[in-house]
């Protein structure tokens, strides 16, 4: 019997979801978000806080484009994992920001657009892809908008949020 070959991926959970990164939850997120059955997943090894390394069978890995978002939920709370390869390219012209909630409630897209447009000096329509995780938002904005110092604290709809540049963080 030919031994199965694997490719190693990194699974990342931002913000307060770092503690959710257990093998069971990773398998569930991979099954729901990437359609990967557990038999195609090899070893799962914990990395630094909020990351884990996952082996995926080579024949399935070939079909996986990365970075891949795996929005999931845990106990009714939204959570977000990201599956990536170590050599993934960064999207041209876009930057990923983390909006971390200090009191738990996350803003909607309109509120986020209004606040970020004001802080970053962009048009509200330029707020890109946004995904909600446990206690944080991950949003994409034009790279050229990041002229001020980050991290920073911003107010959205009367609540306070911490803004972080995800690329710098990683």
């Amino acid at each position: 019997m030919t031994p199965t070959r694997f490719e190693t991926f990194e699974v990342e959970a931002g913000g307060g979801a770092a503690g959710l990164l257990t093998p069971g939850r990773i398998l569930k997120a991979l099954a729901r978000g990437a359609g990967l059955p557990s038999e195609d997943v090899g070893t799962i090894e914990a990395g630094k806080l909020g990351t884990a390394f996952v082996e995926i069978a080579a024949h399935r890995a070939l079909q996986l484009g990365t970075p891949r978002f795996l929005p999931t939920e845990e106990g009714g709370t939204p959570a977000l994992f990201v599956l990536r390869r170590p050599d993934d390219l960064v999207d041209d012209g876009r930057a990923e920001l983390l909006v971390l909630a200090e009191d738990g409630a996350l803003p909607g897209p309109g509120e986020a657009a209004l606040a970020l447009a004001d802080v970053l000096g962009i048009g509200q329509e330029e707020l890109g892809f946004g995904l909600q995780g446990a206690g944080f938002l991950r949003v994409s904005v034009p790279l050229g908008a990041l002229t001020g110092p980050l991290p920073a604290t911003i107010g959205i709809a009367g609540r306070r949020f911490k803004l972080e540049n995800l690329a710098k963080k990683s």
Binding site: R32, G33, G65, T66, P67, R68, F69, L70, P71, T72, E73, P78, L89, D91, L106, P107, G108, P109, G110, E111, A113, L114, A117, D118, I122, G123, Q124, E125, E126, L127, G128, F129, G130, L131, Q132, S140
Partner: protein
């Protein structure tokens, strides 16, 4: 829009995205969005579903945002499909969260991307939402640019005939130009009618779209101006402003148009000074040249166009599409002389035919280089047999030769390609001689079948030529000659639907159908209207009509149709039909089954059923009924006797008199006649106006009782010859305008009689102010008023008899 529909649309989008780095990235985003929709479920709106909707907008915007000014991006087609599938959800999302302008951006880009293929008025709803979003303080230049593109796209839409083919799309076959493939042939008249209706509807929608865009352009312009103040050094915003000014010039006339064009020129000059040249700026300049072609001096236009081309040439970036736009503008303004053409030729160089073919053709034409032009177009047509532009030019050359009685300027293979690809719009101005000459040339080269094909699929389909009878005559003649029955039927049937159809088309169709012994009804219809005329055509039409009538298959076919119709209605079953009275007589009532219309050839709109007096229930008599009354009864049909019923095939009776039910109670019917007695002066003992005549067939006198309005009482009172005044003969009692007076009373149920002698009334004066005549039995005419014994009561004779 339901969340599941949006989810399906996103899934399909992810599936159809092309491969590649960007495609894969979009696919990953689409899959994450689909998962968000899965999580959000079908429950109430939450922050999660709001983010899913936001991401949906981002997906649409990312897919459509890669279009450039004149090239569609790699994801535009699949993005446009996604936009059309989810636009309602995007509108809802924008309505729920007006600050989420990603949805507005998606709508604006969606409108701009889909308008070139669709004349959908609903899209103007999207533009409205976009202009509202643009008014929000947080709107940025990206949304302004997309909104500008949407309104300029809608406002700059060209009508049919003005539209050019999109360079990135292969030429689609023009309607009606389907070559000789039988599967693709137009479906005759119905297809043409549908095509005309569709075209009219498209024109209407384009016009409505242009109006909507013109209305909304003001709001977009305000938004752009506002943003421009905030971001004065933004080059795209400055260009958007110029684009909007050009849009207003496009829809304006006279002074306003000139003012707008001058303003655009001034703004462009400011832009040049501030930002320098760019590709987008040159595109806008080319549009300005195009709009000024209508009224600007030719030399000025030529100078502007050459400057633009020189700049492009200097940077080795001459865009064939823009060059064509410029040269076409020069052509329209009569500014393309040989010298200018030569200069342009030098600037653009001698590129490959493909995208440069149209430009080269225009330049060769301006230079008068006919040989080069012909060779170029022949090459283009050989390379792409559907190249309408090349076919048009070559067809014009062919016509030029034929008009001078010269042979075709190109070989038969090219002639064949030209005949197949020539656009219908190029045929509109052909004269009868041109048609004759082209068909003759085709016939000489390929035989009668090819000429017939050209006449059938091109000439008789071209909108302008459809209205000319010589085209139909010629096509029918060729079909006869080729003995092509299908073509003959097709051409004749389509011709009949045209107002200008020659009578020969009707005759040909009828002749062919009779010869085939099929569809004799259709043959009969085709001859309708021809028999009432005079001349040889009418004579032949009458002969053909007689042949149809004499054909037993004709009667049998109609009989079969009637019986099938009876089966549909339920005639001959126990079904109680609703019968509506249309006519009453002393002995019978004529009714109609109004459920559904009878076949066309039936003499009346609805099937008529005879109800005899004895069929009516109880003491109700036919005279108790009146027009509009309803009754229910089962009906049976019976073959008509040809000797008695002339053209009737079937006659209908009440199947079972016991089952007849009247809508009104019998008491109400009986009382109805009594209530009318007073109005007619019956039983009052006073003389009432009567019209008396002699029924020569039954040998008895007929009296008709009239009221003051000239209406006749529904029952005729009996009268005997002895009751006439002395000296009057019963056989000569009647006469036009003659009136009598006499006393009438009821003699039994629904029976009346004249009592005592009747007296001849004095005739009514001929005119309202005329003096009364001396009482002679002059003919005052039916329109003149009659007088009764009571001078104050005028009686107008009825214009038609009631019974």
């Amino acid at each position: 829009m339901h969340i599941l529909a949006a989810r399906e649309a996103v899934e399909r989008f992810a599936h159809e995205l092309p491969l590649g780095t960007n495609g894969d990235r979009l696919r990953r985003l689409a899959e994450a969005t689909r998962q968000l929709f899965d999580q959000a479920g079908a429950g109430p709106k939450t922050v999660l579903s709001a983010w899913a909707d936001h991401n949906l907008g981002v997906l649409v915007a990312e897919a459509l945002g890669q279009d450039t000014t004149h090239e569609r991006g790699p994801f535009t087609d699949v993005g446009a499909v996604l936009y059309l599938g989810v636009r309602r959800r995007l509108l809802e999302a924008l309505g729920n969260d007006p600050d989420d302008l990603a949805c507005a951006l998606a709508l604006a880009l969606g409108v701009a991307a889909t308008l070139s293929d669709r004349d959908d008025l609903r899209l103007s709803e999207d533009i409205t939402a976009v202009t509202k979003a643009l008014a929000r303080p947080g709107a940025g230049p990206k949304l302004a640019a997309a909104a500008t593109r949407a309104v300029t796209q809608a406002g700059g839409r060209q009508r049919r005939g003005e539209r050019g083919e999109r360079p990135d799309r292969p030429d689609r076959p023009e309607r009606g130009e389907r070559g000789n493939d039988k599967r693709e042939r137009p479906k005759g008249g119905a297809a043409n009618a549908a095509e005309a209706a569709e075209e009219a509807e498209r024109e209407e929608r384009t016009e409505a779209m242009q109006k909507a865009a013109a209305t909304l352009a003001g709001a977009v312009r305000e938004g752009v101006e506002r943003l421009g103040k905030r971001l004065p050094d933004h080059p795209e915003l400055a260009l958007d402003r110029i684009r909007l000014v050009l849009l207003s010039a496009r829809s304006a006339e006279g002074v306003q148009r000139n003012e707008a064009l001058s303003m655009a020129r001034a703004l462009l000059s400011d832009f040049d000074a501030k930002f320098g040249p760019s590709d987008a700026q040159r595109e806008v300049t080319a549009t300005l040249v195009q709009l000024r072609a209508k009224d600007a001096p030719a030399s000025e236009l030529a100078r502007d166009a050459l400057t633009l081309l020189e700049l492009d040439a200097k940077e080795r970036r001459v865009d064939p599409r823009r060059a064509v736009k410029l040269v076409r503008s020069l052509q329209r303004a009569n500014a393309l002389d040989a010298e200018t053409a030569r200069q342009i030729q030098r600037l653009v160089g001698n590129g490959e035919d493909g995208p440069w073919a149209e430009l080269k053709a225009m330049l060769f034409e301006a230079l008068g280089d006919e040989a080069a032009l012909l060779t170029l177009q022949e090459r283009a047509l050989e390379k792409d047999p559907k190249d309408a532009q090349a076919a048009r030019t070559l067809f014009e050359r062919l016509l030029k030769n034929l008009r001078r009685s010269l042979p075709s300027p190109f070989p038969a293979t090219t002639l064949d390609l030209v005949a197949q690809a020539v656009p219908l719009a190029s045929l509109g101005r052909l004269s009868a001689d041109d048609v004759e000459a082209v068909l003759h040339a085709l016939r000489e080269a390929f035989g009668v079948d090819k000429a017939l094909g050209f006449a059938r699929y091109k000439l008789t389909v071209a909108r302008e030529l459809k209205a000319r009878d010589f085209v139909w005559k010629k096509a029918l003649q060729l079909a006869d000659e080729a003995k092509d029955e299908d073509a003959l039927f097709d051409i004749a049937r389509r011709a009949i639907q045209e107002k200008s159809a020659p009578p020969e088309a009707r005759l040909s169709l009828a002749r062919a159908l009779i010869a085939k012994g099929q569809n004799l009804d259709e043959a009969d219809d085709a001859l309708r209207g021809l028999t009432s005329e005079r001349g040889p055509i009418a004579a032949e039409a009458q002969q053909l009509k007689a042949r149809i009538k004499a054909d037993p298959r004709y009667r049998d076919a109609r009989l079969a149709t009637m019986i099938a119709f009876e089966d549909q209605l339920g005639i001959g079953t126990a079904k109680a039909h609703t019968l509506k009275v249309v006519f009453t007589a002393p002995a019978y009532v004529l009714t109609e089954i109004i459920d559904r219309p009878a076949p066309d050839f039936y003499e009346h709109k609805h099937l008529r059923v005879m109800v005899r007096g004895e069929d009516l229930p109880g003491s109700v008599k036919p005279t108790d009924m009146q027009k509009g009354d309803e009754l229910k009864a089962p009906v049976r049909g019976q073959d008509a006797a040809p000797e008695r019923d002339k053209d009737n095939l079937r006659i209908y009776w009440i199947a079972d008199a016991r089952l007849v039910k009247l809508a009104l109670p019998t008491e109400a019917l009986a009382g109805r006649l009594e209530s009318e007695e007073a109005a007619f002066g019956i039983g009052t003992g006073r003389p009432v106006p009567l019209k008396i005549s002699w029924d020569a067939k039954k040998k008895l006198l007929v009296a008709r009782l009239l009221d003051a309005g000239g209406r006749e009482f529904r029952v005729r009172p009996t009268i005997e010859p002895e009751q006439l005044t002395d000296g009057m003969e019963a056989a000569h009692v009647g006469g036009r305008g003659k009136r009598f007076t006499g006393v009438v009373e009821r003699s039994g149920p629904s029976q009346y009689r004249v009592v005592g002698s009747v007296v001849l009334a004095a005739p009514e004066p001929a005119g309202r102010n005329a003096a009364p005549s001396g009482g002679a039995a002059g003919d005052a005419g039916d329109t003149a008023g009659d007088t009764t014994g009571d001078e104050s009561e005028a009686v107008v004779a009825p214009s038609s008899e009631v019974a």
